[in-house]
Symmetry: C2
Subunit: 415 residues, 2 copies
């Protein structure tokens, strides 16, 4: 046994010493399941059940239209935004919950382009989360006039920053590999040429300690249904640094971002502050579920969350690489915990079938084209014991070829 093959007792001791251990019981964990897909859809906080029953039966069913005032539905996007702010290094009043991550990216990218009217380029990276790139295509297609999306890989990004770049759009933690970008350095490099930066925090919020203001960040978007445990298709969030709030205008200038939405004037006057980045009526059911998930993360705090993310992913990598399948699996995530988010991904030509074989044995991860078996480590619900068992099972499935069955090769509609 190598030092990386800890005994059951040693693993149990990690759980005993875990300062966040008490949070595990706050999530519904289906019987017999080890869920390593919180990066796609986070587990349900148990309190979401009662919260949703209340918002449906009492708030909607009984208060009806009065709910906007009586249950402060109208304040929910800013209230939950403030809670998220504490997890990502933003101040109260810099974050709002609204729409989808995709729509929020569109809003901020257009607003950023309009704030740099003489610049034609949106710069991003190939292989970043695809919907971000698709939305940026939509941004330049809508704005026209020579605006274009340029994609540069990794180290070439800095070289591509020039006076024609209006905005740089990057994922903070990569959706496939979990690799973390240096937010401070890239933000400074963009600022040096007069460009703005939009950070996609979808794979960061709730799993890392993000310091937007410490990095002098301009703009950010992020997802509610991954590590914030907001429920399937939860509303997303966006961040606008206070210094930019009054000079940027959302292209999706809907009534909820109006200075006086209930006066029903014909002309648009943007609200002061972050509220102007709201668009339509807030999705009350979705925001309510999200508030539960965010509330638990806020209680745990980003610092403790980040430490446990590092510890869980370290354990998984070390144990897989000390196990029987080490030679067959290639780690594509950074080996250094400080450079890595909540995802640990291994490359294997039969990645898809391996993930299916794991699912059949009660460990849910997911697959990303072309050959990546991805495992996501939500720090609050997971125990070290679960992670160790998952690593052992992966070793077993791969080394014994248990994935090599036709039913594991059949592709589902959504993977």
């Amino acid at each position: 046994m190598t030092p990386d093959q800890q005994t059951e007792d040693q693993i149990a001791a990690l759980d005993v010493a875990d300062p966040l251990a008490g949070f595990r019981a706050r999530y519904e964990q289906p019987e017999g399941l080890i869920y390593l897909d919180g990066n796609s859809l986070g587990l349900m906080p148990k309190a979401a059940r009662t919260r949703m029953a209340r918002v449906v039966e009492q708030e909607w069913g009984q208060s009806l239209i009065r709910g906007w005032n009586d249950h402060d539905w109208i304040g929910a996007p800013l209230r939950v935004g403030d809670m998220i702010a504490g997890l990502i290094g933003a101040e109260a009043g810099e974050v709002i919950v609204a729409d989808s991550t995709s729509a929020n990216l569109y809003k901020l990218a257009v607003a950023a382009m309009q704030a740099r009217p003489d610049r034609k380029v949106v710069l991003s990276e190939p292989g970043d989360f695809p919907t971000d790139l698709y939305m940026l295509e939509g941004v330049v297609r809508t704005m026209g006039q020579g605006r274009r999306l340029e994609l540069r890989q990794g180290a070439e990004i800095k070289a591509a920053l020039n006076a024609d770049v209006a905005v740089l759009v990057l994922c903070h933690a990569h959706y496939k590999t979990g690799a973390i970008r240096d937010m401070a350095r890239l933000t400074a490099a963009a600022h040096a040429v007069g460009a703005l930066v939009i950070w996609d925090l979808s794979h960061s919020a709730g799993v890392l300690e993000v310091d937007l203001n410490g990095c002098d960040a301009d703009l950010a978007v992020g997802c509610g249904y991954k590590y914030l445990n907001g429920g399937p298709g939860a509303p997303a969030f966006l961040f606008v640094a206070r210094r930019h709030q009054d000079s940027l205008v959302s292209p999706l200038s809907g009534w909820m971002g109006h200075a006086a939405p209930f006066t029903f004037r014909d002309d648009y006057q943007p609200a002061g502050g972050i509220a102007r980045f709201a668009c339509g009526t807030p999705p009350v059911l979705g925001v309510s579920a999200l508030e539960v998930g965010v509330g638990i993360a806020a209680e745990a705090g980003a610092k403790a969350i980040r430490a446990k993310t590092a510890a869980l992913t370290d354990l998984f990598i070390r144990r897989v690489e000390a196990g029987p399948a080490a030679a067959e699996l290639t780690l594509v995530s950074p080996r250094e915990a400080s450079a890595r988010g909540g995802n640990v991904s291994f490359r294997h030509p039969d990645g898809y079938a391996i993930v299916q074989a794991m699912i059949a044995r009660g460990v849910i991860g997911d697959f990303r084209d072309p050959d990546i078996a991805r495992f996501g480590f939500s720090p609050l619900p997971l125990s070290f014991a679960q992670v160790a068992r998952a690593a052992d099972l992966l070793g077993e499935v791969v080394s014994q070829g248990l994935y090599d069955r036709p039913e594991y090769r059949q592709r589902a509609r959504v993977t």
Copy 2:
């Protein structure tokens, strides 16, 4: 007693004869309340309670990421869209549930402008639902290059249709007065000059019999939380006539509208058909609640719904105008039922206080600036007896000056 002051027995007979009477019990009706604000937020269908408990506890809590396939979350936007299609004269595959009404209007307006690249004008009407105008401001601000929003009142709209108009945007039923536009005639007039038309069906779907295809309509958007009873901030819908689907591209070109969203390619390839107008991950909780509301309306059918809307609003108008406050209240809704949607609005200088006094007495309507007391008649949950009592109370509150108290003049944050 005039013929318009029917006796209690006569009113009761209307309820007995109502072919939709059985639907009333399908909605949660708070004790002691007559709810005439279904045009702002529809009542909760009782079945929403169990449906939401199931989607939260079973689908999210137990199935987790597998819910996209196992509970067909991924198919929900098109499935519920097809149900809505049947209520608005569209075919299956022409309607999708997505985003907010505001965002959907933006998508279709940009797509329509891009389909008419040589034309600079979006034509709409002052006083239409304000978020529509705000969004259209956003459309022309984003697209630039001389594009502009022109507003023309009522009869001047036809005169303003010319070869520079790319798209005409109108509400089918007016949010303040309930007045219905002649969809067929205005669509034809727009087509005659080569323009497209976007209809906002927010105050039509679920309360009127809309015939989009019969009117040769191009595009439409609509709201899920009003007469479709989808819950607070429910997702909205949009319609694209089949003949336009493959030539229009959404500016919000997110992954859910991609031809192959789960291959995670870098470049956007729009899906065939209506699916390309989806953007981000569908809001599963919201779509699930909406499906319940839409399902009941689909069961009742648009023809029967429309007939009861006419009968309820007729009764309300006749009874108010035959009552003690007739001289003080000015009807601003069309008197002809065929020209009117689900709203009946009366003008009174103390409109705000009157609405508050009514609410204090258990009849919820709402107020719209500057002086309009608006009452919305959701045909499925309401009885003729409720409508008669509400009319009597309005007469009493106004004629006896019961509204003239300071607490009724204090403005709430959301009205």
